[in-house]
Every structure is written in C-alpha cells, then in structure tokens.
C-alpha cells in the first residue's frame, strides 16, 4: 500500500518559487490506479517523487506503512518500487539482457530473460543481445522498458505513459501484461495515461491539474466528468 500525506514539491525558477505539486494526499491499495489530467499538470513529477528521483519539499510518503520519504532511489527500488520511464534511457554497450538481469537482481538464463521480452511482443532472439542504444526505435525501447519493470516483480510498479509509441502492439496486450504482473506479484500498478482504454481498466482514477488533486474515485465516478467539467482547455473541449 502506498500512502502520500500532504506532499508538495516546489522549484525555484529564476528566483520565483513555483509549486509543481500542491499538498497532495491519497492512498493506493487497488490493483490498477490511473493518474490522468492535462499535460503539465504534475503527473510525471508525482511519479518521480514516489520513485525517489525527486524529493518532496513537504509531506511524507509511506510504503506498506513504512516511511520511505528519506530513502534513496536504490533503497526504494529494493523496498519494492519499480518505475518505467516515459522516455526510456539509452545506453552504450549495455545489452537488453544486462538490463533484464539487473532488474531481476540475480543472474538469469537467456531463456528466462527472453520470456520477459516475449511478453511484450518482441521476438526475444532478435533483441536479447542487442545494446539498448539509440539504434532501437522509440517503440522498441518502450517495450523493453516495460519488460524490465515486469522482470522486477515488485509490490508497486509505476508506468509513465506506457502506451506512447507502442503503436504496433495492441492496447489489449499491454493490459494483459498489467494483469499478469498483478497476478504474479499481487502488487499495485500505477499507470499515468491519457488513454480512455487504459482508464477503463482502472480500479481507481486520480485526476491531477495544475499540481492539484482535482478528483479521485472509481472510474465510474471520475470518467464521466473528465471531459465535460474537467480541467481541460474550454475552447478545445468545446470543439470536441
């Protein structure tokens, strides 16, 4: 279970303090939780705060009752948090198998490593020994990012816009991966997404706009109001 208590995050931009995340509190214990809202609303920042990449200026974060606010990225990873980046990181010389091995945490056979790639729709033998470098397309790197997160099998996994760039692979397959991850680890999966089809599988939907939590509840409670009186641009909404 993940709990955020009064979490705020401020940056100093040209001597002006700007609040990116404003006093957010919520609890996540469900299977799938979607975080949605307009671009620039603070979704990715919040994910980075949970993973320990950014330190909140105020508030506390608890994982399974333990205060993890002061833990490093590594310690949080070891305590059971995984984070699939929106923009996968490229390396030079480090192979897909190396990365999956790091994710699992101990040496594994090529067959084991391949099984994770097959789950995300990649022909394992074509990728397992490839470097995760700039020669891979955005979609390929994205699926490998998802495979790494899957390989970790932690109690909390965060996906930042996992659907972006995976055009050739269906949403249905992505959703199957989430279901399988939950089956295996029993943990919670947080998905940052704009996609209705992903929001539709969520047990809980959190809407962030301008750094504030504007709505939280079941998808039936939150989704109908999203476009009508949600935080979107009025002009844009009127055109839709």
């Amino acid at each position: 279970m993940l709990e955020l208590k009064n979490v705020s995050y401020e940056v100093n931009d040209e001597n002006v303090n700007k609040e990116i995340i404003k006093n957010i509190s919520f609890t996540i214990d469900e299977r799938f939780v979607a975080i949605t809202g307009p671009n620039g609303g603070g979704k990715s920042t919040l994910a980075k705060i949970i993973a320990g990449i950014l330190t909140p200026t105020e508030g506390r974060i608890f994982l399974d009752g333990k205060d993890i606010t002061d833990l490093s990225i590594t310690e949080r990873a070891k305590n059971g948090i995984s984070f699939a980046f929106q923009q996968p990181v490229r390396f030079k010389g480090i192979t897909v198998k190396d990365l999956i091995t790091f994710a699992v945490g101990h040496s594994i056979t090529t067959t084991e490593a391949c099984s994770y790639l097959s789950e995300v729709g990649l022909c394992a033998k074509d990728y397992i020994n490839r470097e995760l470098n700039a020669s891979l397309s955005g979609g390929e790197a994205k699926r490998i990012e998802i495979a790494m997160t899957m390989a970790r099998g932690t109690s909390l996994s965060i996906f930042d816009e996992p659907e972006a760039g995976i055009d050739l692979w269906s949403f249905q397959s992505l959703i199957k991966v989430f279901e399988m991850m939950h089956e295996k680890s029993g943990g919670s999966i947080i998905i940052i997404s704009h996609q209705e089809r992903i929001l539709n599988i969520a047990d809980k939907v959190i809407v962030l706009a301008n750094g504030e939590l504007v709505n939280i509840g079941s998808k039936d409670e939150v989704l109908p109001g999203l476009l009508v009186d949600g935080p979107g641009c009025e002009k844009l909404v009127s055109k839709m």
């Binding site: 993973a51 990449i53 490093s72 990225i73 590594t74 990873a77 070891k78 948090i81 995984s82 984070f83 980046f85 990181v89 390396f91 030079k92 010389g93 480090i94 192979t95 190396d98 990365l99 790091f102 994710a103 945490g105 470097e131 790494m148 970790r152």
Partner: protein, 305 residues
Amino acid sequence: MDKITKDLLEQVAGLHEIPTGAYNIRKDGELYGRNVSANIDIVTKTDKPGIDIIVKDNTVNESVHIPVIIAQSGLKESVYNDFFIGENCDVTIIAGCGIHNGGKDASEHSGIHSFDVGKNSKVKYVEKHYGQGEGTGERIMNPKTNILLREGSYMEMDTVQIEGIDSTKRETTARILDDAKLIIKEKIMTHDKQYAETNFSVDLDGENSSTDVVSRSVAKDESTQLFKSEINGNGVCHGHSECDAIIMDNASVKAVPALTANNVEASLVHEAAIGKIAGEQLIKLMTLGLSEEEAEKEIVAGFLK
C-alpha cells in the same frame, strides 16, 4: 611457464597455454617461443630487434599470436615487427604487450608494427596493452602502427588499453588504396595520474577507399587523455571518425579532430562527444536496485565493452 608470464599472456592475448598455429612470444627482450606454419613464416630481423611475419597468398582462417611480455623491471626496448600479408588472405593477428613491473625503474616497450596488406586480403588485428605489478616503476608503452592497404583489402584494428599503463603515446598512420577499407576501434581507460595520447592519421588515396576510426575512452581520477585524428580524403572516398569519452573526477580529455578533403567527391565526417556519465543512465539503473557506485561501474564497463 611461471605465473606472471601466464597471467600476462592471458591478459594480452587471451592465451591459457601455448597457442596452436603460428606464434612468436617475446619475453624480457628475448625469444621465448616460436612456431611457424606451412603458410605463415616468422623470421628474426638481423639489422634491428624484431621479426618479419610473412603470410603466403591465399592463406585463409589462420591466426598469428605475437605477444610481448616484460616482467623485468627497468627494461626498455624498441621492437620492429613487419607484416607482409599476401593476396586473397583472411587472417587474424593477435599482438599485445603486458608489463609486470615489480621494481622501481621504468619499464618501456615501443612496438613498431608495419602492415603491407595484399590485394583483396582481410586482416583482423587485435592489440591489447596491459600493465600490473606492485613496483613504483612506471609502465610505459609507445606503439606505432603503419598500415598500407592495397587494392580491395580490408583491415580491422581493435586496440585496447584498459588498465595499468602509466604513459602511452600511440601513433597510427595508414594509406588506403582503391576499394580498400580500414576500421579502427580503440578503447582506452586511464586512472590515477596516467597519460594517454593517440594519434591517427589516415590517407584515403584510392578510389572508393574508406575508413572508420572510432575511439571510446574513460578518464578517471587525475588522468589526462589526448585524442588526435586526421583523415585526408584525396579521391572518391568516405571517412568517418568518432571520439566518445566519459570524463570522471578531475580527469581531462582533449579531442583534436582534423578532416581534409582534397577532392570534391571526398565525404568526411567527424563526431566528438566528451562528458560525464549521463544522470538519467545512473537514475535508471538505480531504479532497478543498483547503488550509484554499482550503476557507474556497469555504465563504464558497458561503454568499454
């Protein structure tokens, strides 16, 4: 074979025992072992230290090992090795030098290698430099490589210096004739107060000649590196050089690329990037459970793989 010799041979030539095929092992300035094959002859030079390696026309799938071991502190030597590769060959040459310096005097090896690669031949040349030893004496290597690639030939040169060489100044010059291609892959890591300088100069003289010079290096601690490359395009040719360096601690890396096109059909490209390890790479590995130190180690190891 004593342990030091065995260790050094394994480090520089990947040898666990005496190799099969042609070889020439030089230890502490003297011949330690030699074998020739039906197609590959090795002859000691009479005018200066070194050997001639003569590969007959049409020799394929053969290898030559010519490692040099220095275990005696204070030894300084210059060795001339000349390779004459016939036509239509496909051979692998494994050179390399390992210095174990257990004393206080500097040990120094300068290997001057020249290659004359015959028409339509293919050569893979692997060179590894390595130093070890508890002594305070410096371990110095100054290799020189001069290459002539004749029509239609191909050479790949893999040169690696990962550890233990206090000072190195390496010079490589090449002349590439029609339809010939030279690939150079250099990997260097320096640490403590080490100094490494590399200087590549390639003349693309032939029609459709090409070269690809790629250097990857990591400079740690107080070490200094200088990378110079010069490609001269004198005909219809294609040249590419790339210097990619990771800098850490208080190290210093300087890249000086030069491209000269003397023909309107010459296509020459240089890329250089020097910088610290990307923060996002460290963060990604840390989110997988590695500590910052472990992440740094893996990134460097991958980069130099």
